[in-house]
């Protein structure tokens, strides 16, 4: 309890971070408790087709009579899962790659650095599209592919951290004590250099959610789950007389991505001593 209080006080004045975290907590609660919060099942078809927002259906219904509000709540699960897991994959790959490159230096680093540069130049979104098209569009595939294509930014950050950390006395003294290089990377370099990566990963969650939404919009998402991008795609067909489906789905995406960007920015501001007290 005191740990939470300590962190809360440290965030004094950092409205972005505080607001973001509160909203995130609410969001996670919604996603977890989804089945209890949906007034109607998200997949429940009904005869009330394309009804505008009203008393019975707060956000209207779609062309199959499904309640938009319920669908939005259900869709939060997909977005959160894909976003977080994809970003985690990105973080793990990027951090290890960057830490190894930065700590070892020399020829290995030169090569690894160029690999990072090359990867950043490849149009990864299309790679994602092709892979999903070829290998199937299950949610698992989507998560893995997004994770495998966005790690360079984390790698770059971690590499810079590793390069500056390896000159620090405590790293040198760990070497003197007899720690193996592997050990040094995982016990000393990564834990001490991870902070900017955390901020970046949070932004990556937002990015992953947008990518997933784009994929679903193009019809390449998992057809078995309710996804907001998919809703926009479907809603596009009847945008004129059923605008609420696409509109609210898009707003939902906007809000969830906004939350993560707020948190990411908040963490960055927190780390910078110059902007901490505002």
């Amino acid at each position: 309890m005191s740990v939470i209080k300590k962190y809360y006080r440290a965030m004094e004045g950092n409205r972005a971070l505080k607001g973001g975290l509160i909203l995130l907590t609410i969001l996670i609660l919604i996603a977890v408790l989804a089945p209890f919060l949906e007034p109607y099942g998200a997949k429940k078809l009904s005869d009330d087709v394309l009804m505008a927002p009203c008393q019975a259906h707060w956000l209207g219904t779609d062309d199959l009579g499904r309640d938009v509000y319920s669908m939005l709540i259900e869709g939060s699960r997909v977005s959160l899962t894909v976003g977080i897991i994809a970003a985690m994959i990105t973080a793990v790959i990027g951090v290890i790659f960057g830490a190894v490159a930065g700590y070892f230096g020399g020829a290995a680093d030169k090569i690894m650095n160029e690999i990072i540069n090359i990867f950043m130049m490849l149009p990864t979104f299309f790679l994602v599209l092709i892979i999903v098209a070829l290998f199937g569009s299950s949610m698992l595939n989507v998560m893995i592919v997004i994770g495998l294509t966005s790690w360079p930014s984390n790698a770059r950050l971690m590499r810079a951290q590793a390069m500056s950390l390896r000159e620090r006395t405590f790293v040198r003294s760990a070497e003197a004590i007899g720690e193996s290089r592997f050990s040094i990377i995982f016990r000393y370099i990564i834990p001490n250099g991870i902070f900017p990566v955390i901020a970046n990963t949070t932004m990556n969650i937002g990015g992953a959610i947008l990518t997933e939404a784009s994929l679903s919009f193009l019809g390449l998402g998992d057809p078995n789950v309710v996804s907001w991008g998919q809703m926009i795609n479907q809603g596009r067909g009847y945008i004129v007389n059923g605008w609420w489906v696409a509109a609210f789905a898009g707003l939902a995406i906007l809000l969830i991505v906004l939350i993560f960007y707020l948190i990411g920015d908040g963490i960055t501001a927190q780390m910078n001593p110059k902007t901490r007290r505002r």
Partner: protein, 326 residues
């Protein structure tokens, strides 16, 4: 054969300038030997290569050329054969006690980890007991308290003591102390120095004590080596070098340091300019541009170490009052 021998040690750094590649000679042809239980003091200004030398001796910095032997066995061989055991044998105490320990771990974690790596002690509890004992012996009481602290909660003196305890846990036969007291308050320095001397007495550990402070070095060292821009310019017994300095640089250093022997009257020696380690080849003595005794030969020919008296050598063309002019 001495316990530790350094022969023709050199360290070159490649430097990329705006007009192509060049190199920086950080350590140039360093030779010395050290016996068990002996403390060698290394003196010089910042940038003279003494820290680099210290790191080279225990394999933390790769050697460009030359060799280091322990009891006749080459450093590279020892490291390749069993790196961990070598590390247990040769330890280092660093200049900055505030940064020596990883910031987010407790002292218990840090110290127990060392034992774990080197398979000292059967289990966590036994290691902990050992730790407590060592801390008490080092004067860190109550030991229990210290174990639970984070590095940022401790003072410089305490941290440096802990650093020494950590190194000595492995019972090394050789210890490099790289300016161990430079960042500490003057009042605390004596404690640390005494601690080191105590260790030497009890465990017969050979030590290299690196410093830019003559007073402390004199107190602890048996022999002294004076470095300038990567080269040894004078070496010998502590008293020999400090009471009968031969090299102009040593003379200049001593003239500034009144505390060595306040009874002796010394003239302040003027040494203009700053030591600048330029990249590239150097011809002639590296101290010549600032030397008050320099002559033509000094700029052309690199002086070699010559014996002044038994055990005392210096590298200067113009020693002993006779200036070999040209």
């Amino acid at each position: 054969m001495a316990y530790l021998e350094a022969e023709h040690l050199c360290k070159k750094y490649m430097v990329r300038g705006s007009n192509g590649k060049s190199f920086l000679q950080a350590v140039d042809d360093v030779n010395f030997s050290l016996e068990q239980g002996e403390i060698l003091g290394v003196i010089g200004e910042s940038g003279c290569g003494k820290s680099t030398l210290g790191r080279m001796l225990i394999g933390l910095e790769p050697i460009t050329s030359g060799r280091v032997t322990y009891d006749g066995r080459k450093l590279e061989g020892l490291m390749k054969e069993d790196l961990r055991r070598f590390r247990g044998m040769a330890q280092m105490v660093f200049q900055n006690p505030f940064d020596t320990f990883p910031p987010k771990q407790t002292m218990q974690n840090i110290l127990l980890r060392v034992m774990k790596i080197h398979h000292i002690g059967a289990d966590k509890e036994e290691r902990r007991q050992r730790c407590l004992r060592l801390l008490e012996e080092a004067g860190l009481k109550p030991a229990e308290d210290f174990l639970n602290r984070y590095p940022h909660e401790l003072s410089g003196g305490q941290l440096q003591r802990l650093s020494i305890v950590r190194s000595m846990m492995l019972s090394p036969s050789f210890l490099v102390a790289d300016e161990p007291v430079s960042m500490l308050d003057v009042s605390v320095r004596a404690d640390i120095i005494n601690m080191l001397m105590d260790i030497r007495k009890k465990k017969n550990t050979a030590m290299v004590f690196i410093s830019h402070d003559l007073a402390t070095t004199r107190y602890i060292s048996d022999r002294i080596v004076v470095m300038y821009l990567g080269r040894i310019v004078e070496s010998g017994g502590t008293d020999q070098v400090l009471h009968n300095p031969q090299h102009p640089y040593t003379k200049a250093l001593l003239s500034y340091c009144g505390s060595v022997d306040p009874r002796e009257k010394r003239e302040q020696v003027e040494v203009p300019g700053e030591a600048f380690a330029g990249a590239g080849e150097r011809s002639g003595c590296s101290f010549a541009p600032r030397c008050f005794m320099a002559c033509g030969r000094c700029f052309r020919e690199q002086p070699r170490m010559e014996t002044v008296e038994e055990g005392h050598r210096a590298a200067c063309h113009c020693m002993g009052g006779k200036s070999k002019t040209e």
